[in-house]
Symmetry: C3
Subunit: 165 residues, 3 copies
């Protein structure tokens, strides 16, 4: 399992797509995004336009562990991305720790070349509002958990991967 | 062309100045900052005080590609910085994509040792307001574009350069 | 002296504790946190629960240089963390530059294996309010100063250390 971590517009998804495409098709794209508003719809389209055929898309705004369980053995997978999944889990007022643990179990036993994308959000100033601070803490813990279980961890800066594990 | 990327107060400008000064004078400093208010004026003075004679200063809050075109062949150049230039382009309501493309063309054909400084702004929590999100996206795309065209990319952390390309 | 820098929830404290514990006990933990509110109290407890016996705790929300001066020669020390100390110094309206300089002098002459933890806060979007911008600038300058004096500097991402010096 390869964990691709980076900031906004750091080229995470694009780089992860490139890595997945090095394996033979078909590839499974597990999208965690939900098209809440125009801005989000635009972002999703922007991402979708970049991928060509050969991709199967699963939408998993919440049941990410289930979606991964449905993937066939040996199949290349791109999960894009954990940060949106965590947002959805928090908005749905699910138990973040329990959901994180369930995801951790699935992710720590990949059944093929799995690539997981996530945002680093903890390198700015402390946010004003308590919800943003809770999110930042939860995202940091989630990223640590996934990085600990990953075989490879890449940190993307300006489209360039730094290998940190 | 060397791209020096980093956070606020990460020592980007200082490090880039050191790298430029390793070449024989005169050096050209292309400043994108505008002294809008006291805070900005203070920052500009703080930067200026660090540079001694031997520097030619061009002010290019918007016409960065033109300023670069005016630099003599072989001349060492420091562009400080792309993030302020992008801010100016957005505030002036110019076409960000067109301006970015024009800059990319100029920058990808350096006619001497050129050093370009920029801020990484995408590693914090998602900003509340839509303009800040648009800026963050545009800055990320600009940084990726420049990094892709650079011969060397440095990521500054606490005054220390990490070589990422 | 080893400087452990990273974002929120990047595993800085945990990693620094592991490094300190590799030395023989007793270890000195210098806490800069003050339990202002429930959220902060919870964070402090969360940190405390991770450390077992063998640790001596000094509280130094402001007099960090004094606390370090009281540590016996050869004693392993963990300072956690500089960012909270800086917050306290600014809230107490002390002279940030003078306090920073005093700390720099003490820290540049470690009398044992000293580990200093700090947050990187400059990689997000420019904060809206002037106080946050002042804090961000001061934190960046402090981190640069400590990194320049450190024998080793680690940058933590998702629980993984990157050696940058």
């Amino acid at each position: 399992m390869t964990f691709v971590l980076g900031g906004a517009r750091s080229g995470k998804s694009r780089h992860a797509e490139k890595l997945v495409s090095a394996f033979p098709a078909p590839w499974t794209y597990i999208a965690t995004a939900e098209a809440f508003d125009d801005e989000m719809r635009e972002r999703i389209e922007h991402h979708r336009a970049r991928r060509d055929s050969g991709w199967l898309t699963l939408e998993a705004p919440l049941d990410l562990a289930d979606a991964l369980a449905r993937v066939a053995d040996g199949q290349p997978v791109l999960v894009d991305c954990l940060t949106l999944w965590l947002t959805n889990v928090m908005l749905a007022e699910l138990d973040v720790e329990a959901e994180t643990r369930r995801l951790a179990e699935t992710i720590s036993r990949p059944r093929g070349p799995w690539f997981v994308v996530s945002n680093e959000v903890g390198l700015g100033i402390v946010p004003d509002n308590a919800l943003a601070r809770r999110f930042r803490d939860a995202a940091g813990r989630l990223n640590q958990m996934v990085a600990a279980r990953a075989d490879h961890v890449l940190f993307m800066v300006a489209g360039l991967p730094m290998t940190i594990k």
